[in-house]
Amino acid sequence: MLAIVRLFAIARERAGRAVIEVELADGANVGDLKAALACEVPSLALLLPTIRIAVNSDYADDNSPIPPGADLAAIPPVSGGCEPGIRR
């Protein structure tokens, strides 16, 4: 199946694009997707350990299945709001 993954923030900038399409085996899970992304876009490989994948707007772990047609996104650590470097 074809997985269409939106990229944001540093992931988008490192990849040089806002969307990546990768071909996955049917029944692939999020871990498989991350492995495919690392192959497809080597510039993302070093970021991937800190990136979470969202499946249909929910955070998913590596074992989560990827339903066909799911909305997929690569989510770098978030920092909405106003103050860097505190509390983390």
């Binding site: 979470r52 770098p76 650590p77 978030v78 920092s79 909405g80 709001g81 106003c82 470097g85 983390r88």
Partner: protein
């Protein structure tokens, strides 16, 4: 009120939107663009969101806050795009019958927002360099890993 917008935030209107005759207390939090971070000077900030997911997570935060506190009204609004010094990036406003409820709920909402809502910030420093603020991707020693959003 749950909103992601490119327009300047009208904190007064957002705060007024949560006022209620059943409330004895309103707490509003504003995030504003701070010029100095240690010795470094910010020129502007750029905010980027994954809007569909951000709105969903914001609605989940409001629902969870309503389970924890007797909230009468709540508003969560984040601005995206380029913000100048002093401008408002986020407003969270909550009304409750009593003051500690409103303050605690507001604090929990802004803390949890920053942990789970997919909004990112890029510092544009006054020296012309740019830097995404990604907890856990920043220089070693800068703190936790930001990898386990609680929601």
């Amino acid at each position: 009120m749950i909103e992601i917008t490119e327009l300047p935030l009208d904190h007064a209107a957002i705060t007024d939107s949560v006022r209620s005759n059943l409330a004895g207390a309103v707490c509003s939090f504003l995030g504003t663009v701070r010029e100095m971070t240690g010795e470094r000077r910010t020129a502007m900030l750029e905010y980027e969101a994954y809007p569909e997911m951000a709105l969903k997570k914001m609605a989940e935060l409001e629902a969870e806050a309503r389970r924890r506190w007797p909230i009468l009204e709540a508003a969560l609004v984040h601005r995206v795009g380029t913000l100048s010094l002093g401008e408002i990036s986020i407003v969270i406003a909550v009304s409750c019958p009593h003051r500690h409820q409103a303050i605690d709920a507001c604090r929990w909402l802004i803390d949890t927002f920053k942990d789970v809502v997919p909004v990112w910030k890029k510092e544009v420093w006054a020296d012309g360099t740019e830097e995404w603020v990604h907890p856990g991707m920043n220089p070693p020693g800068s703190g936790g890993d930001g990898l386990e959003p609680p929601l």
